[in-house]
Amino acid sequence: MSVDKATVARIAALARIRLGEDEVAALEPELNKILAWVELLGEVDVSGIEPMTNGAPGVLVLREDVVDADPLTGGGKRDAVLANAPAAAHGFFGVPKVIE
């Protein structure tokens, strides 16, 4: 697997990372080196082995349906939530106008 310049530019656009043409040119071989290195894993025979998607063994633990049971993960903290928002107003986050 490898990427070309157009793919690099597209991934950057999807990730909202602004790249100049020279940066795209530099990143193309860099990303391809990483991909080639990761492809080494393809040499390992994993037939019959369950794919691992998490480093931790075990299964999900579920929470009970209780509002604000743990203050750390509950609501009712608007000031804290908005504290770092650059343009909060009237209890809302303010962002540059986005409209369809």
């Binding site: 597209r10 656009a13 999807l14 909202r16 998607t53 998490n54 480093g55 931790a56 075990g58 299964v59 999900l60 633990v61 579920l62 929470r63 009970e64 349906d65 209780v66 509002v67 604000d68 049971a69 743990d70 750390l72 993960t73 509950g74 609501g75 009712g76 903290k77 608007r78 804290a80 939530v81 908005l82 343009a87 107003a89 009237h90 209890g91 809302f92 986050f93 303010g94 962002v95 540059p96 106008k97 986005v98 409209i99 369809e100």
Partner: protein, 507 residues
């Protein structure tokens, strides 16, 4: 069992008839107190950002922990549409940037959804009043149901250059219920949505309130010449009423036919429905929308469900609309029409069952013996009287027990059906009980033979000409004499006695 119906809905183009192919992705808010991955509340109508936890605002270092009730309700919904529950499912990240999505990705389930393939059956003639025949039934496939997070809400009209973001909805649990492209007309899509909504409300997994956004549909539409392979589809996002879904399909299908017949081709794209104009338009900002770069969410381990959990979900399911409808027809002897209307909404079915139960108790008879009287009264008298008073079953001043008291008076012959209608109106006005109204207003039906005979004699004397016509063979006039006699008795005469005495007098 009725036959499978084939929709004959076609769009007539210049080049011939086009068939419409429709699939719906319904987002239904799961009824839970807390959000899918945090403890913040889900209640509708809170102050902006008052129900937002640090998890929902995507603050660094916060980790999602799924709400068991949300999983339980999605499993119950899957069982209700006859779908297998996957013992192992996973959560994935769907990546996109938008101001209403603080994480920069939505936690969803792409590769291993919680619920597999199911189906529901739609009746296409539900609304045909008075139809006693079995309605046409069509089975609509459900491809999958998965669980995911809702996004926040944007407001664009509060400030000239800013949009405001309210994250109260951010992280609320949704079920995405994906249908097969099995629908062929706006009417079928409408029937599917109504039926799905009814099932969700019976199950209690979603309140089905489309006005508050608890249910929204993404509408996939394509057109083709009958017998041809599927055409390219468009997806109209976030349509929030049954009527709008039907209007969006109609408009979009006609637009596609126009494009194709003008020699163009359909672009697979995301569109928006504008309720004011009834049209759809392209959402240019979502051009990249299909490149979501899904990958398994490393914050969440696999969701593994055991048989005991799924068994509890199965046992907690109520009787569902189709089963209830069947029971009303077979065990209670109701018509297909009455059974259909009574089971369409869970509230109506609950009201009817409370009424029938109280009636059986009040009259000392079995459910099957009182069901028809209760159904007829509920569907004609009560619905009519409530509509007249600008009310619905939800805020009816007459309770099922009060209704049963009225029906018992009719069954015992204390009052006639005509008087019962008047008593019902008074019950709705005053909230008073039927027996109290009947006693106070002297509405008790009379079996006083002398009084009825006198009324009969007066009626016949006043209409001598019609009496002659009747005796000459115009038997249809009998109803006229009954009506006149009941009128003279102010509706209080025992109708059977009136019939008997009239027959004697006209003999």
């Amino acid at each position: 069992m009725a036959s499978l119906s084939q929709s004959s809905y076609r769009i007539d183009g210049a080049t011939g008839a086009w068939e419409v192919v429709i699939g719906l992705e319904v987002h239904a808010q799961i009824a839970s107190r807390a959000k899918l991955f945090s403890g913040a509340a889900t209640a509708f109508g809170a102050e902006p950002n008052a129900q937002v936890s640090l998890v929902d605002a995507a603050m660094p270092g916060m980790l999602p922990v799924p709400n068991k009730e949300c999983i339980r309700q999605a499993v119950r919904t899957g069982l209700a549409v006859d779908a297998p529950i996957n013992r192992v499912s996973r959560f994935d990240r769907k990546n996109y940037f938008y101001a209403d999505l603080p994480q920069g990705y939505q936690i969803s389930q792409l590769y291993h959804p919680l619920v597999g393939e199911g189906h529901i059956e739609i009746s296409l003639d539900d609304k045909r009043a008075g139809a006693d025949s079995e309605p046409a039934v069509k089975r609509i496939g459900i491809e999958r149901i998965h669980v995911e997070q809702d996004a926040g809400k944007l407001m664009h009209d509060q400030h000239p250059t800013m949009s405001y973001v309210d994250l109260n909805r951010s992280g609320v649990a949704l079920m995405e219920i994906v249908s097969r492209p099995d629908m062929r007309s706006p009417a079928e899509a409408g029937a599917y949505l109504r039926k799905l909504r009814a099932i969700l409300r019976y199950v209690g997994s979603c309140d089905g309130n489309m006005e508050e956004g608890s249910m929204r549909a993404d509408v996939n539409v394509s057109v083709r010449k009958p017998g041809q392979p599927f055409g390219t589809r468009t997806e109209t996002k976030n349509v929030n009423s049954v009527r709008f879904v039907m209007a969006a399909i109609e408009h979009e299908a006609n637009r596609q036919v126009d494009v194709l017949e003008a020699g163009g081709s359909i672009v697979q794209e995301t569109r928006l429905f504008d309720p004011d104009s009834g049209t759809t338009r392209s959402m240019r900002s979502k051009e990249d929308a299909h490149d979501y770069r899904y990958f398994p969410d490393p914050d969440l381990l696999p969701l593994v469900l055991d048989e005991a959990f799924i068994g509890e979900c199965r046992e907690s399911l109520p009787e569902l609309p189709d089963a209830k409808r069947h029971r009303y027809e077979t065990a209670l002897g109701l018509t297909a029409y009455a059974a259909g209307v009574l089971t369409a909404e869970v509230e109506t079915a609950r009201w009817f069952e409370a009424l029938a139960g109280a009636s059986a108790a009040a009259q000392g008879r079995s459910l099957a013996e009182v069901a028809r009287q209760a159904a007829n009264w509920l569907l004609s008298d009560l619905f009519g009287a409530l509509a007249k008073a600008g009310r619905t079953l939800d805020n009816s001043p007459v309770s099922p027990v009060a209704g049963a008291e009225l029906l018992a008076l009719v069954a015992k012959g204390t009052i006639s059906n005509t008087i019962a209608k008047q008593v019902l109106e008074k019950m709705i006005e005053s909230g008073e009980g039927a027996a109290a109204i009947v006693t106070r207003e002297g509405l008790t039906q009379t079996s006083d033979t002398g009084a009825i005979e006198a009324a009969v004699a007066a009626v016949l004397a006043a209409h001598a000409e019609k009496v002659d016509q009747y005796r000459a063979g115009k038997e249809a006039l009998f109803g006229f004499f009954v009506g006149q006699t009941m009128k003279a008795m102010q509706g209080k005469a025992n109708p059977q006695l009136v019939n008997e005495l009239l027959k004697q007098a006209l003999g």
